[in-house]
């Protein structure tokens, strides 16, 4: 063993001498640092620019323009809105690449698109055409029951769904730059989104308590029981929040729904079917943007809620009326 200690000590000496040389080179102006593209810092940094904003599902250039004009921070291009995916049945796949490219050439805000869970080739195609964010999404039909995509291998940031903290941390460990609590998409019913956000909050509060008491063993037990890395669990406990940006999704249909999710600690919201399955999409999109940014200002949320009419909201689906096999949230845990 002593050999190993001596080896490690030499390794440490070597590391420090390299660092010293680097510092000397930097001071003398010899070091040339090239541009570093797509490093983790700019992936996480990009996502932090979304905070306080709304990303809207769209299926055409026309809808993308409405979303941009209404003040969306980004759009998600799909072949069908989640509500229509439910109605259509069959296998749901990534959207038509020509439609995605056309949206990219029409609007100036970031363009995201979904690939199937585990379908790294669909993700590669999306990266190749240049989408800004890839959603490995349970709204599409999963192709791998066991594993998600290795997201560290991509230059493009990924967002993944999660119903609770362990799912979220597993996705972050796989390289997700952003989390969205799943909810139950395409239902117009925000109940599941609330449930998932509260589950995440509950575990974070518990871990934070362990951390403040210095009970690292409890943090270790939590990570072991939930198959998540200890370091990531400890980081979450120290921060008292998810280590990446978290948007709420699944069933948000009104300005008040969006404000509610912000109160529960979401950094922003995804709105899917809620806007373009309503009969007042322009006003509703604008109102949801206002309510998300000003969730803590009741006057502004009232103003936002008055911009839309409940008579024109999308028809909701009660989750209890769905059969277990119709639930999307249980895909890819």
């Amino acid at each position: 063993m002593v050999d190993a200690y001596i080896f490690l000590e030499r390794l440490r000496d070597l590391l420090y001498s390299l660092l010293e040389q680097r510092d000397r080179a930097r001071e003398s102006g010899l070091e040339v640092i090239p541009l570093r593209e797509a490093v983790p810092l700019v992936k996480y940094g990009f996502i932090s620019m979304f905070k306080g904003g709304v990303i809207m599902d769209v299926t055409s250039d026309k809808q993308a323009e409405i979303a941009e004009d209404a003040g969306a921070v980004g759009v998600m291009v799909l072949d069908k809105l989640p509500y229509d995916v439910r109605m259509a049945g069959g296998v749901a796949r990534t959207a038509d690449l020509r439609v995605i490219e056309s949206v990219m050439n029409t609007i100036t805000i970031p363009v995201s698109a979904k690939c199937r869970i585990g379908h790294s080739e669909e993700a590669r195609l999306l990266e190749e055409i240049g989408v800004d964010l890839i959603d490995e999404s349970e709204v599409l039909t999963p192709v791998d029951e066991k594993a998600h995509i290795d997201k560290w291998a991509f230059k493009t940031p990924f967002v993944n769904g999660a119903r609770n903290l362990p799912e979220a941390l597993r996705r972050i460990y796989e390289g997700a730059s952003m989390i969205r609590t799943k909810g139950e998409p395409g239902t117009g019913n925000v109940a599941e989104a609330v449930k998932h956000m509260k589950l995440v909050n509950r575990d974070i509060a518990m871990l934070r308590g362990h951390y403040l008491r210095g009970d690292y063993e409890a943090i270790w037990v939590y990570s072991k029981e939930n198959s998540v890395p200890y370091e990531l669990t400890l980081l979450t406990a120290r921060l008292g929040r998810l280590p990446v940006v978290n948007f709420a999704a699944g069933g948000i249909a009104t300005p008040a729904d969006a404000a509610l999710m912000m109160w529960l600690g979401a950094d922003g919201v995804f709105v899917g079917s809620g806007i373009f399955k309503s009969s007042d999409p322009e006003a509703r999109a604008r109102a949801i943007v206002l309510a998300t940014s000003f969730y803590d200002d009741p006057e502004a949320v009232v103003e936002a809620q008055k911009m839309v009419s409940e008579k024109q909201a999308m028809m909701g689906i009660d989750i209890r009326s769905l059969k277990p096999e119709q639930l999307m949230q249980v895909r890819g845990v």
Binding site: G45, D132, D297
Partner: protein, 197 residues
């Protein structure tokens, strides 16, 4: 000293964190009344169209312009720099009709270095500030400055060529990158010095 951070959308939290680390009081600005009594204002990164829409919807444009006229320093980073510019062009779709504050005599090109996969970090040198680390995220380039505005630093980019990344006009600063993401304090010291003058 109190520094306001426009907190409608974007990474206002990161700016506030750095200000607090530097021992400066940071206040979030969401409505005109929040501008009272601040010594400087930061307009953060985010989506310039979103922030512009919300500035316009909440009638914040004129109070911010009034602040600028009275000489209170304003710094815009990325989306914030776009909002300060008088001329805005997008690399893909061309001239944009988006809302702007238009307080600085500069022209910017949005998404000048490409899409998100082309976002990068680099070290750049700025006149009066020195060398700083910078994160360029779907960043704009400052391609012209006239009137009272002056470009403070450039980057040599393999695709975009040599373009401006920072500009100053009186006590206003426009940066096409994110010091709040790369964690660089020097640019803040420079900005806070403008406020102390």
């Amino acid at each position: 000293m109190r520094v306001g951070v426009l907190a409608l959308q974007g990474d206002f939290l990161e700016h506030a964190e750095i200000l607090r680390e530097l021992g400066v009081e940071a206040v979030y600005v969401k409505k005109p009344g929040d501008l009272a009594g601040i010594d400087a204002l930061i307009i953060p990164g985010g989506e310039s169209t979103t922030i512009g829409n919300l500035i316009s919807a909440r009638n914040l444009g004129e109070p911010i312009a009034e602040l600028a006229r009275s000489g209170v320093p304003i710094m815009g980073t990325c989306a914030g720099a776009i909002l300060l510019a008088r001329k805005i062009v997008d690399r893909v779709v061309g001239e944009t009709k988006q809302y702007r504050l238009g307080l600085m005599d500069i022209g910017v090109v949005r998404n000048a270095f490409g899409r998100q996969r082309n976002s990068f970090t680099a070290r750049i040198s700025l006149e009066g500030v020195g060398e700083v680390s910078a994160a360029f995220i779907r960043a704009p380039a400052i391609v012209e400055a006239w009137g009272g505005a002056r470009i403070l630093g450039y980057i040599d980019h393999p695709v975009a060529g040599r373009v401006g990344v920072a500009a100053q006009q009186g006590s206003m600063l426009a940066l096409s990158f994110h010091p709040e993401i790369a964690g660089d304090r020097r640019i803040y010291s420079y900005f806070l010095d403008l406020a102390r003058r």
